[in-house]
């Protein structure tokens, strides 16, 4: 095939020269032929990757002009509305980037939009990985790396938008400092060491700068490299489909297909960010003015990814302990630590919890459809609900204004919803998943309703069902359900109780296991009984009950299952 391609002379020399020294031909050939599966949801992580590349490019440009100093100057620059105002050099240089450097405003806005896109795509990518079960063995480490990237991204973003030292970001820093002070025992010292003395001091901007441009990006870069290397080494997961098995990967080779698609995707993302930066103003720091601890603008909002922390600070009632000459401010401590611990800590433990609850130690290269894992999907939607309510509460003043609802009412609604919302979301989602499974079971058993009504010779009307195609069955029948463990206290054939099922942990494991194992059984041999029945739903429901009932004594099912 290479006979058709006339390789330019320059390339041949270089290729041979490199291979003489690095023995790359064999490994690169394997890499060029590496098969990548295709699915729209696999592009989400790529958005985060390309956003990060764009962040590095634009950030490098900005660092050529930004002055990370809090020394005070009096402004006499191009933005005449701030003429004669005292400000820090950081703020002044940000004004200069915006108004005196050609393309500076564009770069600033692309950088800021890219940071928002990075965090947004990272979040959605993690949701995709969670809901399809892509974090399962052997990919737990990559899941943990992803959580690390998300946490670093939060900090990187916070430090980044705080650098210009404008009124809005200064208020954010003040909150950050107040929260740090609230940490028991070491908090006051942490705040004084980070800020180099009392707030605001004149050291925080240069310190955040070096953390923002060197330390955290370096860590992110290293983690992304590890993430990608592991992904290539373990090969990508694939969606359930005909021909896709746990032992193969079906798709298109890296060179030329994936390379061209990835390149196109990079340019699309860059173009989208450039369009946003052209038409959608972001962080117009010249309107906020330089930071002063005396003033504040109302409706101060952080960037969206900090919204959950802002919302949890707002939703928390006043609660503080004073004892033995010390103060513990739970109205700061709980909002700061609890929501992110629940979400990131929960995400960290989840793969191992699922393995423990299902007893599933197998490799998983074919993804789950979310409906086929009702507990996981339910927990995921519950977490999204929890996050979403706190996030919305972070804009409670804006909501109160737009919806004309009293501010305190909104906060009270959020206080209630943040507790019961996730529970409702879990139960509803699980029922929806089982409902969709039931629909799938019907499709497999009876085929698709075609909408064609036929009259039989005896006068009965029936609807013609089209049997599923091979491709459709490949997706529908890919469902795998965790095996049911022995019920608590049950004995094996020799009368010995299972050691794993004993004690409180055994009970918890049994409860979780039964929840995970709940499913709608598909009668794959049931193609014969077809159209005559007409009460498919009731029949499937009966099977569901049987499936739960086989778990042992707790036949009543639903209520007892929920952990």
């Amino acid at each position: 095939m290479s006979d058709d391609v006339n390789v330019p002379g320059a390339l041949t020399g270089v290729g041979g020269w490199l291979d003489d020294r690095f023995h790359g031909a064999r490994g690169l050939r394997v890499f060029m032929r590496k098969v990548f599966p295709d699915h729209w949801s696999f592009m989400l992580g790529e958005i985060a990757l390309w956003s990060f590349v764009i962040l590095l490019l634009t950030g490098t440009f900005l660092s050529l002009f930004f002055v990370p100093s809090m020394s005070e100057v009096v402004y006499h620059g191009s933005y005449v509305k701030l003429d004669g105002i005292r400000m820090s050099q950081a703020y002044q240089s940000t004004l200069n980037i915006s108004f005196d450097i050609r393309g500076g405003l564009l770069m600033r806005q692309i950088h800021h939009w890219a940071a928002d896109l990075f965090m947004a795509s990272l979040t959605i990518h993690m949701l995709r990985v969670f809901f399809t079960g892509a974090y399962r063995k052997p990919r737990e480490v990559n899941w943990l790396i992803g959580i690390g990237l998300f946490s670093l991204g939060l900090l990187e973003g916070l430090f980044g938008y705080s650098l210009p030292d404008d009124q809005l970001s200064g208020a954010g820093l003040r909150i950050f400092e107040g929260v740090l002070q609230g940490i028991p025992i070491v908090g006051t010292y942490l705040a004084f060491f980070l800020f180099g003395g009392p707030f605001p001091g004149n050291l925080i901007v240069p310190r955040m700068y070096i953390i923002h441009v060197l330390l955290i990006p370096g860590l992110i870069l290293a983690l992304i490299a590890a993430h990608l290397f592991i992904m290539v080494h373990q090969k990508h997961t694939q969606m359930p489909a005909k021909g896709n098995t746990e032992k193969n990967v079906v798709g298109q080779p890296f060179f030329p297909y994936f390379m061209a698609k990835g390149g196109a995707w990079f340019f699309f993302i860059f173009a989208a960010l450039a369009i946003l930066a052209t038409f959608a103003e972001i962080n117009p720091i010249w309107l906020y003015g330089p930071y002063s601890p005396v003033a504040i603008s109302s409706a101060s909002q952080p960037d969206f990814y900090m919204g959950i922390l802002e919302g949890s600070l707002r939703v928390m009632p006043a609660w503080e302990w004073n004892f033995l000459g010390h103060t513990v401010s739970f109205s700061v401590l709980i909002p700061f630590a609890l929501p992110l611990t629940i979400i990131l800590g929960g995400a960290t433990l989840w793969p191992f919890f699922e393995q423990w609850a299902t007893g599933d130690r197998a490799f998983h290269n074919v993804l789950d459809r979310p409906r086929n894992a009702p507990v996981r999907t339910g927990v995921g939607v519950a977490a999204v609900t929890f996050y979403g309510i706190l996030w919305a509460e972070g804009a409670n003043d804006v909501l109160a204004d737009k919806l004309q609802i009293p501010l305190y009412t909104i906060t009270w609604i959020a206080r209630v919803l943040v507790i019961i919302g996730p529970l409702i979301a879990y139960f509803v989602t699980r029922r929806v998943c089982l409902g969709l499974q039931r629909k799938d079971a019907e499709l497999v058993e009876h085929g698709l309703e075609t909408g064609i009504i036929r009259q039989l010779p005896d006068g009965e009307f029936i609807e013609v069902h089209r049997p599923m195609t091979e491709e459709e069955l490949g997706i529908l029948e890919a469902k795998k359900v965790p095996a049911l463990m022995p019920a608590p206290g049950s004995e094996d054939e020799n009368g010995v109780p299972s050691p794993r099922s004993q004690g409180a942990m055994g009970w918890a494991r049994g409860v979780s296991n039964r929840a995970f194992a709940e499913t709608i059984v598909v009668e794959t041999n049931g193609h014969g009984h077809g159209n005559g029945h007409g009460d498919g739903a009731g029949e499937v429901a009966g099977e569901e009950h049987a499936a739960i009932g086989s778990g042992g004594e707790h036949g009543s099912g639903d209520g007892a299952d929920d952990s």
């Binding site: 006979d3 290729g15 005292r86 002070q181 060491f193 699309f268 860059f270 600070l313 010390h326 513990v328």
Partner: protein, 386 residues
């Protein structure tokens, strides 16, 4: 054990591949025939072999041919729909030309459009951003149409290899690891092992220890502000002192900074104060003790003018919003709400304490001055606050 003994080095391989008769001479070529296609990795021997025809290339054993023989599918070269591909090619070319033009447009806009005023900056931003967007979008679109409509649609299947190493590999690893560990004497000589670990302990602590000088110890600095007896209240913005008579309009709230520190952010972050004047009889500041500290009293007001710390007791935002009719002070950050007429007690939100009250009096010229510093720490809670 060296590589050179086991496999021929690159230079040897090239020599070996070269045919004896053509040593150092260009291969003969019939005039009018195309030159031989060079190999990608440019080995002269291979180039010659290619000129001799496909069969011989295979016999020479080029890597690609050898691997392809192992049942790997070959990629198709022809597009699936040649007529369709022709149209697609035109679109791709158009996209790339557009990207070229837009890229040139960016450079032209950079050179041609100045900045330094708001209008010019926005015009420049529009031109630069638009040309950049078009260039990038056209490039992306061209590449996408290229891969989707010019390249034939192939689907390949690759085997996955189990991640877990085979049993013998694991065993061999374990065997060598134990062997090497024994050889290192690490296991056999516990004192070496223990003293090594001991030696690393202080070294590991040093990165933490050297952070000590990043800031001073807090000490009691969070308990005090720069307010002292007789220090004048200055109106924020104008920096003018104020008499009780000048601040006569009831209902409004103004921000006050301490005289001598009006430009000191560190001082202002703690000492900024709000001043509110009430109708006679409305203000009912209770005398409140909190843990032995007097936090508010009517004696600290002058002519129904009361001064509270502007720093929220939640996380330190300035409490900037005031509602005259209800006397509510609202923090815009997290909506802690304080009742100004009743000692700024908390009526909603996460703030745990009332805003501390600054004791007021007047000096000989009638200007409002502080009677003393705050009698309790202002701003957010901290561990040592008590």
């Amino acid at each position: 054990m060296s590589d050179m003994e086991e496999t021929p080095g690159p230079s040897e391989a090239i020599q070996g591949a070269e045919t004896p008769e053509g040593h150092g001479m260009a291969p003969r070529r019939v005039i009018g025939t195309p030159p031989p296609a060079p190999r990608l990795l440019g080995e002269p021997g291979d180039a010659e072999a290619a000129a001799h025809g496909g069969a011989e290339t295979a016999a020479h054993g080029g890597g690609a041919v050898a691997l392809a023989e192992h049942g790997e599918e070959k990629l198709p070269v022809e597009s699936d729909y040649p007529q369709h591909a022709k149209n697609a090619e035109k679109i791709v070319v158009f996209c790339f030309l557009l990207a070229f033009l837009a890229g040139c447009g960016f450079i032209a806009a950079y050179v041609g459009l100045g900045v330094h005023t708001v209008d010019k900056v926005f015009r420049s931003n529009l031109a630069l951003g638009l040309s950049l967007s078009v260039a990038l979008f056209a490039l992306g679109l061209g590449a996408l149409i290229w891969v989707r409509h010019l390249m034939p649609d192939v689907e390949m299947t690759e085997e996955r290899h189990e991640m877990r190493s085979a049993g013998p590999e694991r065993a061999a690893f374990e065997e060598y690891f134990k062997e090497a560990a024994a050889t290192s004497q690490f296991v056999r000589r516990p004192m070496v092992r223990r003293t090594l670990m001991l030696a690393t302990l202080p070294l590991a602590a040093i990165p933490i220890v050297v952070l000590r000088d990043t800031g001073p110890q807090p000490g009691t600095s969070l308990r005090h502000t720069v307010w002292s007896p007789g220090r004048r209240l200055l109106v924020y913005g104008t920096n003018q002192p104020l008499t009780a008579a000048q601040f006569s309009a009831p209902g409004s709230m103004i921000t006050i900074v301490p005289d001598g520190y009006q430009d000191d952010p560190d001082a202002l972050a703690k000492a900024t104060v709000i001043l509110i004047r009430f109708q006679p009889g409305v203000l009912q500041v209770p005398t409140v003790y909190n843990g032995g500290t007097l936090i508010s009293t009517m004696n600290w007001t002058v002519d129904n003018i009361v001064a509270y710390s502007k720093i929220c007791t939640h996380v330190g935002c300035p409490v900037a919003l005031y509602e005259q009719t209800t006397h509510h002070i609202l923090c815009p950050c997290h909506q802690s709400t304080f009742q100004a007429a009743e000692g700024a007690r908390v009526i909603f939100g996460p703030a745990p304490r009332p805003l501390p009250q600054l004791p007021l009096t007047t000096d000989a010229q009638g200007y409002l001055v502080a009677k003393s510093d705050f009698t309790q720490p202002v701003g957010p809670s901290f561990w040592e606050r008590g």
